[in-house]
């Protein structure tokens, strides 16, 4: 008897799966992104994922030397860079390259001073109006949460499988694909003046940003290849860290919690079996 309700639930689910695949083709207009993001094998994916600190440091370098010209990263402070494996002295040195506004002082004046680790990393523009004017009206998005704020829909049935495979790297995969995905617009496709064709872009066929990276524009001192592909991976990983610095802590704590719950559930199961055995007599 107790099998009946689950069986019914299963039947309902099966019927629904059939229906879901049936209606998947029903959408009319063109779907963006045109191409699904490429999958990268990230060090931080999966249940045991951890940051590759070397990669994060390289990613910060790419950000600082290229992206930071237009993109801010407001939620990240210099002190947070210590989590990338930079020493205290290195963090201080990085901060010291920046000026931040402080004040008012005792005379009521605002003044500029050298940044310290406690300061947030200053962005390239004073405000979003200035950012818009400098970029033909398109404000370059802040990097702090971009790796979590851009995730192309996975669609049915992928989103169901993602639960089991723990696929949660849609954001960095998207950023990597976008950075490496610029190409010539196909024959016959009109794209607006001043935009750049990229089939991986989430909101249309083309975006305002031109391909920002190319082979050799950032020098690495750890021997990693100085290629577009490597830069894109590194900066995507860095952006994932910026979006969720606690990711590795989450996974390592999660592992311990899940093991505990698993053992606890086995013990409870055995206890329950024992308790209910008394009923069978």
């Amino acid at each position: 008897m107790k099998l009946q309700f689950p069986r019914i639930a299963g039947l309902a689910l099966a019927a629904l799966l059939t229906m879901g695949t049936g209606s998947a083709f029903a959408a009319g207009a063109e779907h963006y992104p045109i191409k699904e993001p490429k999958h990268v094998d990230w060090s931080f994916s999966g249940p045991m994922g951890t940051w590759d600190l070397g990669q994060l440091q390289r990613g910060y370098k790419v950000y600082a030397e290229v992206c930071a010209a237009c993109h801010s990263i407001d939620l990240v402070a210099f002190r947070n860079l210590g989590e990338l494996g930079f020493s205290e002295a290195q963090v201080k040195a990085i901060a010291a390259e920046f000026e931040v506004e402080d004040g008012p002082n005792s005379d009521g004046e605002m003044f500029d001073r050298t940044a310290v680790p406690a300061d947030k990393i200053p962005g390239p523009y004073a405000n979003s109006q200035e950012a818009a004017v400098a970029n033909n009206g398109a404000v370059p998005p802040d990097f702090s949460l971009l790796a979590k704020a851009r995730a192309p829909e996975r669609g049915f049935p992928n989103f169901v499988f993602d639960i089991f495979t723990m696929y949660a790297e849609n954001g960095p995969d998207y950023i990597y694909s976008l950075l490496t995905g610029y190409e010539e617009a196909p024959e016959g496709r009109e794209i607006p003046e001043g935009t750049h064709y990229n089939p991986y872009f989430i909101a249309g066929p083309a975006l305002a940003m031109a391909s920002p990276l190319s082979d050799g524009i950032v020098s690495y001192d750890d021997g990693s290849p100085e290629t577009l592909d490597q830069y894109s991976k590194d900066v995507s990983a860095f952006m994932m860290w910026a979006a969720e610095p606690s990711l590795d802590e989450r996974k390592s704590l999660g592992f311990r919690v899940m093991i505990f719950l698993l053992i606890f559930s086995v013990l409870l199961y055995l206890t329950k079996k024992k308790v209910f055995q008394s009923l069978k007599k």
């Binding site: 039947l11 029903a26 989450r250 899940m258």
Partner: protein, 438 residues
Amino acid sequence: MSGGHSEYVPGNGFSKWLDSRLPLPRMVYDSFIAYPVPRNLNSWYTFGAILMVMLVVMILTGVTLAMHYAASTELAFQSVEHIERDVNYGWLIRGIHANGASMFFIAVYIHMFRGMYYGSYKEPREVLWILGVLIFLLMMATAFMGYVLPWGQMSFWGATVITGFFSAIPLIGEGIQQWLLGGFAVDNATLNRFFSLHYLLPFMIAGVVILHVWALHVTGQTNPTGVEVKNMRKETVPFTPFATIKDALAIVIFLLFFGWFVFYLPDFLGHPDNYIPADPLKTPAHIVPEWYFLPFYAILRAITFNIGIPFTDIVLIDSKLGGVIAMFASIAVMFFLPWLDTSKVRSGNYRPMFKICFILFAIACVALGYLGSRPAEGIYTILSQFFTAYYFAHFLIILPILGRIEKPDELPPSIADAVLDEPAKAGRGRASSPQPAE
């Protein structure tokens, strides 16, 4: 309590003293230790306890989050990120709270479908059911307002769309909407009152939960056979240790499922756009509510036509108002379920036609959920209308008629006949095979 008399014996001097002044230990003993439960409850009956745990988890994490959250349009988004980044274990507390809302709804939907399948709403448990629907309504209000608090794009635009419903009410709608929002649009005043109400409603839920459990303990639980307990000694077991250990196991297994999302897929159930700060000048391409509202959202959008007097141009109910009415009706109809289902047989196990209708109803609900996540255009709208019609037909046409025309399978004379190794004379098939309680 349904046992009629209390078996509590105060153990020492103090508990004797207290028992004659405030018999709280007696109540706990009678409700959670000696309370008799049918011996044939299956695992689907553990979701009540799971929901109880979820409510406590949500209140505890919520109170903690409120210590660090700032309910102001200028600060809300950043304060949530401050919790994620700078508060000790803030990422964990917020992860539990945000995913906990989804887990709460998963559990409540299973709990409701279980009640619908086993006819748990039937006499004498109508009030128990109605209190449950009331809890569900309060949960929806709480979850909706909670989703607004992080002040991301979906928070803001979701709030704008949902509160826009009220403007559909003729004549007074605009006034009500402005009164609710505290202004002409969703803004600081709205965020502040939503925060206040989001903090208040869970305690109201807790209050109704107490009534819900009280009502349950007056009537006693149903069981998969739907046959009432006839022989207390043979057919029931004491809540402790039997139900206690079973609920504990179910809770821990549910926590494993919960933990899977909190630790490995914390953003799976959310929307990426909510990591973009709210911007009143930029509408997202698709405004989608949280998954647990999608079936109701689909019903709202299914009404794309005006309802008027035929052959004239007079519109009585325009499509917007029609959608809002349909959506509220889809929940309101559940209050009347005990009287809409005319069958005398309680459990779906003995109702062959109901079983099929129940599957179709469940499919319609999940299909509406899927359609609610799609843009409201083309085939999606037509399917939404079809399933909306079926949803209401299930309550208003199928259930009333089914009770009259359906020939139910023979019921076991008692729970003991159904589940004990005693000669099961009349029962048929699985229903009568020996089935110890899980």
